[in-house]
Symmetry: C2
Subunit: 412 residues, 2 copies
DNA sequence: CCTCATTTTGTGGATTTCCACAAAATTAAT
DNA sequence: ATTAATTTTGTGGAAATCCACAAAATGAGG
């Protein structure tokens, strides 16, 4: 089979036309994606496509499990590091048939991919060369999309910041803007923050953006960057367990950043989950509060990401203020502290850990490295010395809060 | 034995002299008390006195257990209702030997008592008559004491109000006043309030004052009346378990008011227990807070009298304010409430009662009149529907507080 | 160093909790 | 009225908690 020198020198009106042209030449279905695996174009009239391609076209993006599996097999890393086409063997778990892929480059950066599904025939060496040429030819078309998107991005960013800082409060106005910028609406949303150890570089931003675009756990409505913080407005897919979904997303995001880009130590949080847009600022502030509290209680809050789950820590700032004014003097706590001080005991810590572990004897004993009976003896002493009834949940909760508050205050 | 018509017509310099005179005439030890069983005078040179009299003289007041027992035997009620002498048989439990008592009257009011201990001899009918005359003769002397005390009282009252309202804040100044008015000092003190169903009449005030003067559970430093409220500054006897002592006092005060004067439905409270006088106003405010909270949570706080033991309710006003501003939206609670509403279930109440009962399965089941397994089933549902981890004490406490807060808000 | 009070660890048994499973009762919806 | 889902109650056994008692370890003070 022979082709003319550059079969793509003709001008194409659209990328669809371009995809059809490649498909004609190679005799196999073609899909073109951007750097974030969103579908840009695909060839029509194909007889056979595998489930992965079908799903990609339907949802206009590559299914996340497919992306995950391509990362694990090393396909995407290969495409990101070289301009050469890569062949992918069938991965039946995710419905992926044999295919060949090549990356589209602009300077030193990958801005998209072309996939050729080996439906009826296997591509030859020449075919591969052709694909490579196609990738080069696609560059400008893809770039145009990219630039157009960037311009839109800027306007959207500005809008997002206005929302975060409460500069737009009228619900009508917010809705208008959402519609104008073609941001999808959602019944529930929350503001998420990923806080990095250092300022977020363009490079990192792209990596994050990549993961966000490819994830399908949540809907990303808006995002922006503020020094260490990557801030996004996200919507859970279902309204049934929004908390759980956002939590899962945050965890998997952390894992992916670590696995794929070796970015460690990201602190994540999200604020309240709300229905109306006026609450975006509130949700953002709450997400910031979560990070602040996590800073101060790293152990207790290590598995907490949401404002919801902050629980009693939600009102610690408020209580601390009052405490500073001399309120809430807890004589039980004072007595226990005095006793600990004088006799080098650990009554306060014992109570705190016991409560932390939901009053579970075994767990607490293990956590404190003491015998269960030692714990029970200490609890008896705590009741005596602190003049506190250990069956009175009210007194216990107050003591617990006061202990935490004292710690919080110490860290001011 | 015969006496001249009025053996007491001579003028006596002091009540001590007067007591000696009676003692001479009746040939037995004499003690004179005011209406509150404080020792006013006693005859000297007596050979025999019983333990009760000794204790009275030493502590300058009749021991409380003796007063209690005299009430129970009906002696004091008899003395309060008639001018006739009353004979008291030995009450060995409290070290009281045989004796005769008579009350001292001014108009329709008892202002004191004279006690004649039948040490060597039993008083005859004539002796009793003599005692009655002595009581009449004592009237003016006792009254003088009474009046002098009243004048002092007024100044003291004014001072107390200044303390309660924070109009004297300098510790030095407070100390000076305490010394000047001969109010005993104490290392620890608290402000107590007894709130009556209606305004406190002079009559009730006297009854209260009587109980306060005769109690020896605590030291009463100052007291005053404000409409429904009887307010006092009290000091616990020991510094070890001040909370417990004040609690005990409040309970026994209520019992006595009920038993002796049939005064029901007193609401009592006390504020923080402090060391420095500047905190009197604070303690007073706290005592008022306790009463306010008891008003709103009668069941939960029925056994609570102190600000200390208010526990989490201490900061409910604070939290309520924030809640009104839209903070602390607890989606778990919202979901549970919605579920309850829709399916006519009791998940919120179940959780609340369970927590109220210190997470004790049996007690809770009993309180709710359900099977223990029903409770466990409901808890499982609560965890599911509320998206809450029942082993996470933080989430649980938050939910609990939010439930109580919602109730509190409902009662605004 | 010794002594005494306090704290820790150990043992065993009564009691309670937890959990899985199943049957009965109740409720909502067609 | 029938069905299906949810809720309540019951049973039994494993696991955990509680409690009393005792022996060992620790530590402060004379």
């Amino acid at each position: 089979m022979t082709y003319q020198d550059d079969p793509f020198k003709a001008n194409f009106d659209s990328l669809e036309e371009f995809a059809d042209r490649i498909s004609d030449l190679l005799q196999c279905p073609i899909t073109i994606e951007d750097a974030n695996h969103r579908l840009i174009a695909y060839s029509a009239h194909d007889d056979y496509t595998d489930p992965a391609r079908t799903a990609t076209i339907i949802s206009r993006r590559v299914p996340e499990k497919v992306i995950n599996s391509l990362w694990k097999k090393g396909v995407i890393p290969a495409l990101l590091s070289s301009m050469e086409p890569v062949r992918v063997e069938t991965i039946s778990e995710v419905g992926l048939g044999n295919r060949v892929a090549v990356s589209i480059w602009k300077n030193n950066e990958v801005i998209g991919f072309i996939w050729a599904l080996e439906a009826d025939r296997t591509l030859s060496k020449d075919d591969m060369e052709l694909l490579k040429k196609a990738a080069k030819a696609a560059k400008n078309k893809v770039l145009q999309l990219y630039m157009r998107k960037n311009k839109r991005e800027e306007r959207v960013q500005e809008f997002f910041w206005k929302l975060l800082t409460g500069h737009i409060t009228a619900n009508e106005e917010i809705k208008e803007n959402f519609a104008m910028m073609q941001i999808p609406t959602a019944p529930l949303f929350s503001v998420l923050i990923f806080r990095f150890a250092s300022d977020i570089t363009n490079d990192i931003e792209k990596q994050i953006s990549y993961i966000l675009q490819t994830t399908q756990q949540i809907h990303v409505l808006l995002y922006t960057v503020d020094r260490h913080d990557f801030i996004l407005l996200a919507a859970p897919k279902s309204t049934l367990q929004p908390l759980h979904e956002l939590n899962q997303f945050i965890i998997s995001f952390g894992t992916k950043m670590k696995e794929r880009f070796h970015v460690n130590s990201i602190k994540s949080s999200f604020g309240g989950i709300y229905e109306t847009y006026e609450h975006i600022e509130k949700s953002y502030k709450e997400a910031l509060t979560v990070l602040a509290i996590k800073e101060k209680f790293p152990e207790q809050t290590s598995t907490i990401y949401s404002y919801q789950q902050l629980g009693i820590y939600q009102f610690f700032d408020l209580l601390l203020e009052k405490k500073r004014q001399g309120e809430f003097i807890n004589s039980s706590l004072l007595k226990l502290q005095a006793y600990d001080e004088k006799h080098h005991t650990n009554l306060v810590e014992t109570f705190e850990v016991f409560f932390d572990h939901d009053s579970n004897v075994n767990e607490t004993a293990k956590a404190l490295n003491i015998h269960a009976n030692t714990l029970s003896y200490r609890l008896k002493r705590i009741a005596e010395i602190g003049e506190i009834n250990l069956h009175d949940i009210n007194q216990k909760v107050k003591l617990y809060i006061d202990i935490k508050l004292a710690k919080y205050e110490a860290l001011h």
